[in-house]
Amino acid sequence: MTTAPPVPPPPAGVRATARIHAVADGRGGTALPLLAGEGPLALRRTRGREPEEAGVVLVGAMSAPLGGDHLTVRATAGPGARLALASAAATLALPGRTGEPARYEVELDLEDGASVRWLPEPLVSVRGSDLRVRTRVRLAPTARLLLREEQVLGRHGEPPGLLRSRLTVTRGGRPLLDQDLACGPGAPGGWDGPAGLAGHRAVGQLLVVDPAFAQDPPPAAVLGEYAVATALPGPAVLVTALAGDALRLREVLDAACRTYAR
């Protein structure tokens, strides 16, 4: 008598890691000795904004972490390398079949003199989704960073899913910024109230780290009733903004980018 074959476990979500390594090529430019997408994380090399910069775009199915998926983007920039990272489209957090949260991790390591611009399109938290984003940035003391994060609660007119996003930045091993935002149904109480998002459906941050700020710190400024630029404890400026929608949020962050990113 044979035993019944074991019931196969339900298919786990997709696990994929995209790896990027940028190095100064010794001729004033930046080479990409490692550019490896995986599964839904496809990478395309693009022209940088300047000749010294290498560009990479995350393409396509990047746009859909389903519940249970675990996606990771890991980029390192060696001494003096200059890298621009973007995404081709907004990332949609979608519900999965298992009720498991989706995980999306970004890890950026910048060595001395490296410069990275990480400017992805917005993350849209779709109804019923549950996404945990973890972004870790490790900066050498002379590295420069421009980082944008935009979170949109639901597609047009749609209630959001649950979104938890933590951004941790260290510089020379010392914490520079550590922020954890939780919003959507299932988030701790008060997330949409007067000490939370207060009805706004888009929230974003622009972080500029530049060692030159140590000598010449940029002015902190109130950019509107729902947007400020603040000097962090280090040569860095953080722009924090709330807006009614993604478009208006981008306007505020673009204007701030022109002011603070040199």
Binding site: R166, P194, A195, G196, E225, T230, L238
Partner: protein, 224 residues
């Protein structure tokens, strides 16, 4: 632990200067976001689960004996608003003065020497709790309670809200306050093994934004 010491530390009459700060309630009242007991409750709940949890974990970690310099750096990174960093250090300095007079202790002495301009208030609070013979969970409770008690008291003054209603708000938040304090103490124990990144960094963008807007007002009733 001494329940009486906990009452002394958590008492609003403890002379630590907290009454001059509204915990963001002044900006929220002026903007109309707090206008009655219900909106005050929602405000306090949001603050409890963000700034309150973060402060409670820092306080618990300090009470556990984690290096205050590491905790102060962690607090800085969790406070992007310079206005809030300044307020936290001022409150820390004032609390330390009161604490050293109340519970003389070498740990508090060292903290004062290491941070002449003041350490972040939750870090001082944790070390004060330790000096008073209290534990990490006690420190977390005090920090979590302060995160909502301040705005509730301030709103009574700002809006002329019925003090009975404000007390009702605090009483209704009690179960959530207990669970925030428990989570904070648990994270502090984790930080002992894993470092300060294990401490929560729950944040509210609006509290940071409003604190900067508020700091720019020419006339204010509260310092923050």
């Amino acid at each position: 632990m001494s329940l009486a010491a906990l009452l002394v530390l958590a008492d609003g009459r403890f002379p630590a200067g907290g009454h001059a700060h509204s915990g963001g309630a002044e900006a929220a009242c002026k903007a109309g976001r707090i206008h009655d007991a219900a909106t005050l409750e929602d405000f306090c709940r949001g603050r409890l689960h963000t700034a309150g949890l973060t402060a409670a974990a820092l306080a618990a970690a300090a009470a556990l004996g984690i290096d205050p310099a590491l905790l102060d750096a962690a607090a800085d990174a969790r406070t992007p608003s310079p206005a809030l960093r300044t307020a936290a250090r001022r409150l820390g300095r004032q609390l330390l003065r009161a604490a050293r007079a109340t519970w003389p202790d070498p740990g508090l002495q060292q903290l004062a020497a290491a941070f002449p301009r003041g350490a972040h208030q939750p870090v001082v609070l944790g070390l004060t709790a330790r000096a008073a013979g209290l534990g990490p969970l006690d420190a977390a409770h005090v920090a979590a309670y302060e995160s909502v008690g301040g705005p509730a008291t301030a709103t009574v003054r700002l809006l002329g809200l019925d003090p009975f209603e404000a007390s009702g708000v605090l009483a209704r938040l009690a179960p959530e306050l207990d669970s925030v304090a428990a989570r904070a103490a648990e994270a502090a124990h984790r930080a002992l093994r894993e470092g300060t990144e294990a401490l929560p960094a729950a944040s509210s963008p609006l509290l940071e934004i409003a604190a900067e807007v508020h700091a720019g007002w020419p006339v204010r009733l509260f310092a923050s």
